[in-house]
Symmetry: C2
């Protein structure tokens, strides 16, 4: 090992070889890297939150379940009170936790994008229901459309560090709600073969929605074998109320073979308690009620434990998705998911900034890195989201790929092995060698496997930057976005696409 | 506790009371919050790095010590080899570690800014030797001046989340190096009463420098009792070489009563090994040599263990201070400091971006939050730094205060107590109350003590933002910078200042 480090004749060839695309398992970062090195809560604190959540389910319970839900839940052992609230004995919760699906896979339409929600495996993706698109060229907000949604799907397909595409915007150009739901599904699936998340707003839409989905899968059986679309269910209206319509839609999705996201989206200081710990208690209680619901209906049905408590700016009551308090809420939730060993999801990466500026950078960076280091399985809303979920920005989505690359590199952590701590490399350089590590064998070896490079982030010196005409980050993002969209392919073959367009009123091209 | 939550008549009065400035110990964040919930390394990995560092000191050692250093170190037990390298038996290192100062205080000129470097207490500040100022109004880089340095000190004084001011820029308008060193000291101390860091470039300057410093302190005794200026010593030139001149300057600073920062600033892939773990090994070995040096000369003299390994972009060899690899290096170093229980410092918050844009935000956010969560005592270069240390930006310094506020809130973590997890507050709202937590007693109580609000970060809705004329983040930063500078006071009284200016050639107003 104690060889002198020299620039040998074969160096250029080695560099060229190392500049070629790396095999997936050699890349410095990828979907599903294990997190968990940041622990916002101690074990005792996790247990305290767990017991408080069980107390809340037993003593407060949830109101407003639909009749079908009341039947499913009371049959399983929940108790309907005179006040109309369903209360959950802890034994019931524990029984259902034992039945719940673990280590589930959320499938991509292309299997290479399958997400393995085991342990602390971390995946980043989009989500949300933004009603605006941020136009960085005019510095304005406009209504989001089906075309915007489809474009976001296409862009996501091209971004290495965005691992799934959950509907991020509402197609506001479609006034008919069923047409909107169907267009949402097709806009997403025709843009990317990564895992898709959608969200039915009305129970009546699930039937026609599943009909389209089965068609896209080449048949119901195919879909049930590899369900590549999950449904995001806001099954509760915090605090501690079921959302009737959404519960009915959820039952139908489960029967139709769709994995569900059990989404509890309270807002600390408004619809959830202001103390971060108690907001987690409430979110956990609500999602545990969801676990009972799902497993009483269909034991072991794939469901993501979706504690998504948000944060209020307590001065104004407005939501603040980019805050440190949000980062802590999400990190704490991730630890609760691990305590139950359930596949879990929460929100991070939301910016309160209206445009992709420095504020957006620190908000997305801090909240996403805490989510990743906490080992959150599904980090929703992690890219593109501005104005606390009201605006989605395609250029920010492209820039977010860089943010997530850095975040994933942090999640991967420090490689400490006999090799990576062997002082032989130091001896070779200090005692016998050139006195520096530039171009050393070890340096070249690690160039692509241990270090990640930004696509848009600029690392030029001031001199180089000046000579390059002082490139602007947003201009670079616009250019990359346009290039991706120009090169993107429709993800169904033209004949199939034409058939869909013949049967449905599709609002995008 | 189970009281209904009502908007009682005294609410406005309570809100007003809570809008008043909070006592220091009630503020949601402050200097010295304990970190440590992120552990980049396992205990076994820490031990492995420690042993590798001891091996390196024993087998490789350091070359280029000045004659005085050779004398001090060999007398203590280091072995001078035929190759001119000083090697350190592990017993010597262990003995000196036992003598090293722990739980030191870095004093502010005003005691309220004292920094307690115990345990995992985290402090953020500036540092560096930028040669440019980033002018955000013209989007250009220009040479930095003594006035810029003084302005940065004044701004830092006004920023709650920047806890110390180490010289961040080189006063390039001063051609005489001694004049530059003296102006640096006065530019910093006359701008802020927070702890100051300076860096003598030549041994000959330490004498005149100390003379000025003693004058500023009102006498040598005063300074030795509360040394409010520390000296940053690049005492090594990695890999594994002492820096002769800097070592001599360090000896003089120590004799003069200045705390020292033992700074090892290798660059992974260039002057330090490319593997992150081995870069940490080298930095630890070099700083341990510094610990031996300091404690052999003056047992228990206050010194900060300054493992500052930087990162190369391995494609180009250029430094990348904003990278995830940098965040991990610094976080790993912080754990090594805790292993030795020594006061420690490292670099975070550097941006590779040339201007305070989204890239700057994610780079500063991610690297600073990892440093803070790791429990790094002194986070140097945490604000204002662009182009990988080549440019300092005053507007970015102001924005960085917001970044650090969010970071400190993450460091503070989740408050999990009986109160903060009691479901009584949920019962009050869900069973007997209004069904929401807005304006509840608990919400109002936490408004200022648990939540932190950005000064420049914008949380308006798109509608409000539009109505406010779509305020620009950089414009807001310029305005705040100008306001601070307009209101800032010289930190010595006018007569004293006049006397200094009579004795010295001062380049700023």
């Amino acid at each position: 090992m104690n060889r002198p480090i020299r620039r040998s004749g074969g160096r250029a060839a080695r560099v060229a070889m190392r500049s070629a695309p790396l095999a997936e398992d050699k890349r410095p970062v990828r979907a599903g890297l294990p997190g968990g090195k940041f622990q916002a809560l101690t074990d005792a604190e996790v247990t305290r939150i767990h017991h408080a959540a069980l107390d809340a389910l037993e003593q407060i319970g949830l109101s407003q379940a639909p009749p079908s839900g009341v039947e499913i839940l009371t049959k399983a052992g929940a108790i309907l009170g005179d006040d109309g609230r369903l209360r959950f004995p802890r034994a019931l919760v524990e029984d259902m936790l034992a039945k719940a699906a673990r280590n589930i896979t959320l499938h991509g339409r292309d299997p290479k994008y399958d997400l393995d929600l085991s342990g602390t495996n971390v995946h980043f993706g989009t989500a949300g229901a933004a009603v605006h698109v941020v136009d960085v060229e005019t510095n304005t907000y406009r209504d989001s459309t089906a075309q915007d949604l489809h474009n976001a799907a296409k862009i996501t397909h091209a971004l290495d560090n965005v691992h799934f595409f959950q509907r991020a915007m509402v197609a506001r150009d479609i006034s008919d709600n069923l047409e909107m739901d169907l267009n949402t599904i097709y806009a997403c699936t025709s843009g990317t073969t990564k895992h898709i998340g959608t969200s039915f707003s009305e129970p009546d839409h699930v039937g026609p929605g599943l009909e389209l989905i089965y068609k896209l899968a080449g048949g119901e059986e195919n879909f049930r074998a590899r369900p590549f679309i999950s449904n995001s269910n806001c099954f509760v209206v915090p605090p501690m109320k079921f959302a009737e319509e959404s519960c009915i839609a959820m039952e139908q999705c489960i029967r139709g073979g769709m994995p569900v996201l059990l989404l509890s989206a309270g807002q600390a200081g408004a619809t959830a308690p202001a103390p971060i710990a108690l907001a987690i208690v409430q979110a956990v209680a609500e999602c545990l009620a969801g676990v009972v619901y799902v497993n009483a209906l269909a034991p072991g049905h794939p469901a993501v434990f979706g504690t998504w408590p948000f944060v209020s700016d307590l001065r104004t009551g407005a939501m603040s998705g980019g805050s440190a308090e949000q980062a802590l809420l999400t990190a704490g939730c991730a630890q609760m998911h691990r305590f139950y060993d359930l596949p879990g999801g929460a929100a991070a990466g939301i910016s309160d900034a209206k445009v992709p500026n420095m504020q957006a950078g620190w908000e997305q960076g801090i909240t996403n890195v805490l989510a990743g280091l906490s080992g959150l399985n599904m980090v929703y809303e992690s890219v593109g989201m501005h104005a606390s979920l009201l605006g989605f920005c395609l250029e920010s989505l492209v820039l977010g790929d860089d943010v997530l690359g850095q975040v994933l590199r942090c999640v991967r952590g420090i490689d400490v092995t006999e090799d990576s701590t062997s002082i032989e490399a130091m001896k070779a350089v200090c005692l016998d060698g050139p006195g520096h590590y530039l171009g050393s064998e070890q340096t070249l070896e690690l160039m692509q496997t241990e270090y990640i490079y930004p696509t848009l982030g600029n690392r030029m010196s001031p001199k180089e930057w000046n000579e390059a005409g002082r490139p602007d980050l947003i201009e670079s993002a616009i250019a990359r976005k346009n290039k991706i969209l120009a090169e993107a392919q429709m993800k169904f073959d033209p004949e199939f696409d034409a058939a869909i367009r013949a049967d449905y009123n599709i609002y995008f091209t």
